[in-house]
Amino acid sequence: MSAQVDHDLLADYVGGALDGTPEADRVAQLIASSPQWRSAADELTAALRAVSDDLGVLREAPEIMPPDLVTRFDELLASPAMAPTAARPAMDPLAARRPTRSTKQAKRLRKWAVPVAMLSVVFGFLAFANLFPPTATRNESPLSARDEAGAAEMTDAKALPVPTVTSGKHHNRSSLGGSTRMTSESVPPATTSKTDSASPSPGMGINGGIPPELMRLTDPVALQRCLDAIATVLPGIATLIDYAYFETQPALVISITSIGGKWTFVAGPGCGIKGPDEIFRTPHQ
């Protein structure tokens, strides 16, 4: 009998992955009856012994954390953001040392963007609980979609749920309660939406629908990149993300708690691709 060797199947068999399955019997029969399978099995078995030796060499090679990274982690663990009690404002541990944002400093800041963003989870839920009554329907963050069933205590550590809503509201500067930091890319006040301030679009309420231009940002990876980009210009904690509009433009309207207070940050559809794609930001009144 002659048969083309399925090398993945053969690897599974030789490695014991098929033990106790009918497939194991089938592969054993192929090895017994087919010279090609027998030859391939012999070669693989011998090769795996050599691989085991090679892996043994790597196993004995120590991978000790380099001193500069040891320092980085020591600083992280000693930072206020890593205090055991989560119910305190998150702080950017490097803020005091950052008079200007040089390239090198910006790179260091990015190191802290992730932890600050991740710590947003705790505060996000707290803020969200206050902002929305329990009866309000809301979307679960796409970031939590990766959680797998089972091993709950382990998946708990993996979930990064920042509360999101799809209000469909047309926000503008007055509805967001501020008038600062209008960027050049934003729509001037004269072109403000004809709809009422912060009013929902027709057919869109809570969970009414996500503007097509923002669909990319429903992907957890894209959303995280967006939040990371925002954290480089406004370090803080995202407490709520609204898929909405800002003065006719589809935009993420994000509530952020930073060391300097609470902000509303408006990001365009290019967030995460074109940096934070900032349209507008304003401190909470």
Partner: protein, 210 residues
């Protein structure tokens, strides 16, 4: 310098959850190098590994109060680290802004330590270690993570299945196929996809991966 602490890992985690200011740092220092090795070997890039480990430690820091002791603390930590690494690799693959491990083995090796202080190491076969490391970086990351945890870190298949949230058979298969692929990459086995043999042992002479 963090002094040694007689408390168990689980006690430290509980103490942290109860508000002990130092417990988490002690726990991290206790397992730092092993977790670092897992991150570095899984991600294959020094900076990405550091970022992944940082994300993992923040996750563990935050989730400590929900640890119920159903697995060893080290198993729990390893899972968080591996998941952070795999998430990072998936992100990297999705965006393709950074070459995947193995796409440029020279750069990979440079990025491995990037001119930083090399830790003192006992006499080992550095060349073989480097070549194996490069070959490992060319495996699909699911195979690589399983192989690292089983063959390099010494975890059982059952533990790794629990860490990765997959069936034990899946871990066995990933390891088996990963080892077979390593055999080809390391020149111990002819490439099933090519007509010719790859002479065994050539990697040690050339220092490169075939």
């Amino acid at each position: 310098m963090i002094p040694s602490d007689p408390r168990s890992d689980a006690d430290l985690l509980m103490a942290h959850a109860a508000g002990d200011q130092n417990a988490f740092a002690i726990l991290f220092h206790r397992h730092r190098d092993r977790l670092w090795a897992v991150a570095l070997r899984t991600v294959g890039d020094r900076e990405d590994a550091a970022d992944a480990l940082q994300e993992a430690m923040l996750s563990a820091h935050r989730a400590a109060g929900r640890f119920r002791g159903e697995s060893a603390v080290t198993t729990w930590l390893h899972r968080i680290v591996v998941n952070a690494c795999v998430d990072r690799l998936r992100r990297r693959q999705a965006h393709r802004t950074v070459p995947l491990p193995g796409q440029d083995s020279t750069q990979d090796e440079e990025r491995w330590h990037t001119g930083r202080h090399e830790p003192a190491t006992p006499p080992i076969d550095h060349e073989t270690a480097m070549v194996v490391r490069q070959a490992l970086a060319q495996l699909p990351f699911e195979q690589r993570a399983s192989l690292i945890l089983v063959d390099l870190e010494g975890h059982s298949v059952a533990e790794v299945a629990q860490m990765l949230g997959v069936a034990e058979g899946t871990v066995k298969s990933r390891c088996s196929r990963g080892r077979a692929r390593l055999a080809t990459l390391l020149g111990h086995l002819r490439n099933p996809d090519s007509a010719g043999y790859v002479p065994p042992g050539t990697h040690t002479a050339s220092g490169g991966i075939l």
